[in-house]
Symmetry: C2
Subunit: 203 residues, 2 copies
DNA sequence: CCGAAAATGGGACGCCGTTCAGTACATACT
DNA sequence: AGTATGTACTGAACGGCGTCCCATTTTCGG
């Protein structure tokens, strides 16, 4: 068979990404297969390889879009009266996002590149963009940029840890329902502790 | 071929677990395959299924032993002068353990059971045992058992988040070298913040 | 209208997990 | 010692997978 031209390359690309996303939302990374994608969109497996280098490339594309969506969700958070409150809002928005897209979110951690292959540069850039949202929220309260960097990373990792344990079947040390309370507790206690430390340094 | 009886069932079990562990340490879960295990130990793939129900069963067994090893490592941590210091030591011991066994540790999060299958009861028990080590360390400083539970979970999840981001290729928001400092920062600021909260409640 | 380029299908290769019938061996019994 | 019994084991088979590639068909430029 030859050129069908019932879909443009871009349309085909979106078809593939759409079908892939559905498969992942249904069954995680394990539910994804080139053959199943092809079946769903009515093309043969080989066609996928005209558009994506391989499945890893496809998955990275989906991950990129997911990071964009999270960035947008965090961007939609209105700044609150205090930096502390803003961080709380960001953390809860992150939590909400992961809760609404659990399988897709897990993709970021389920998926590994084959040994030796590096993550693309734009991927790292997107992550830094997300982190900088937290850093900016912390700016009024932490002036030293090293402190800001560290605090943002600790908070990010902490919230990630909670959501990661909550959305993973394999050990719910943390239940889905308790996650928001834990996140609040982490953010408030950690920031309070940081504040006290600063006071000590100031005296 | 018939019974070889060059190895007892227990020896065979250990051979299989040993080869599997090596494969995972080399290439993560992706490096594990029933056929490759069989090749390495000089048996046919079918033999594995006399001893383990399937690969998931085998992997869960490895995970169980890993959790036991971590439990032992945490048990070897000597109590410090203050509860806060003890928690610091526990956190650093956890970090060290994951750093020394990165691929094996990642197994806990890479591996998912097929949909519908639940984690065995002993697995949950082991996890609770680990958590209770943190709770016990917090006991002198947090009397309300709810507070203890929450604080232990937040700390556990927080440290997990940091190590998880540090040991994952796919985005090193956190570098391996900076992880210990982040863990210290998290523990000290969080506990300080908790202390202040308590003071407030006491007044 | 024809030739060239491009897109696609479909089969092939070498993997995978898992199952199972058959076989060769060790043991138990006579 | 010889035979019967049961079991540990093999190896092939099934249906799946990712990826590659060639033949074919269709579209487009001239």
């Amino acid at each position: 068979m030859g050129r069908r031209s019932v879909h443009t390359a871009d349309e085909l690309r979106e078809l593939i990404l759409g079908a892939s996303t559905e498969l992942i939302e249904a069954n995680g990374l394990a539910g994804l297969s080139a053959r199943e994608i092809a079946r769903r969109i009515g093309y043969s497996p080989g066609t996928l390889y005209n558009i994506f280098e391989n499945l890893d490339d496809l998955v990275l594309t989906i991950e990129g879009r997911l990071l964009d969506r999270l960035d947008q969700a965090l961007g939609d958070v209105p700044p609150a009266s205090s930096p502390t409150q803003t961080v709380h809002r960001l953390a809860q928005a992150y939590l909400r996002f992961t809760h609404e897209n659990p399988k897709l979110w897990n993709l970021l951690f389920e998926h590994h590149l084959p040994p030796g292959r590096e993550v693309p540069a734009w991927y790292q850039t997107k992550l830094e963009g997300l982190l900088s949202r937290v850093e900016n929220a912390l700016a009024p309260v932490l002036t030293r940029s090293d402190d800001k960097r560290r605090a943002a990373r600790v908070l990010w990792a902490g919230v990630h840890g909670i959501t990661s344990l909550a959305t993973t079947d394999k050990l719910s040390i943390v239940s889905t329902e308790s996650a928001p309370a834990l996140v609040d507790d982490l953010v408030s206690a950690y920031l309070k502790g940081l504040g006290e430390k600063q006071d000590q340094l100031a005296t």
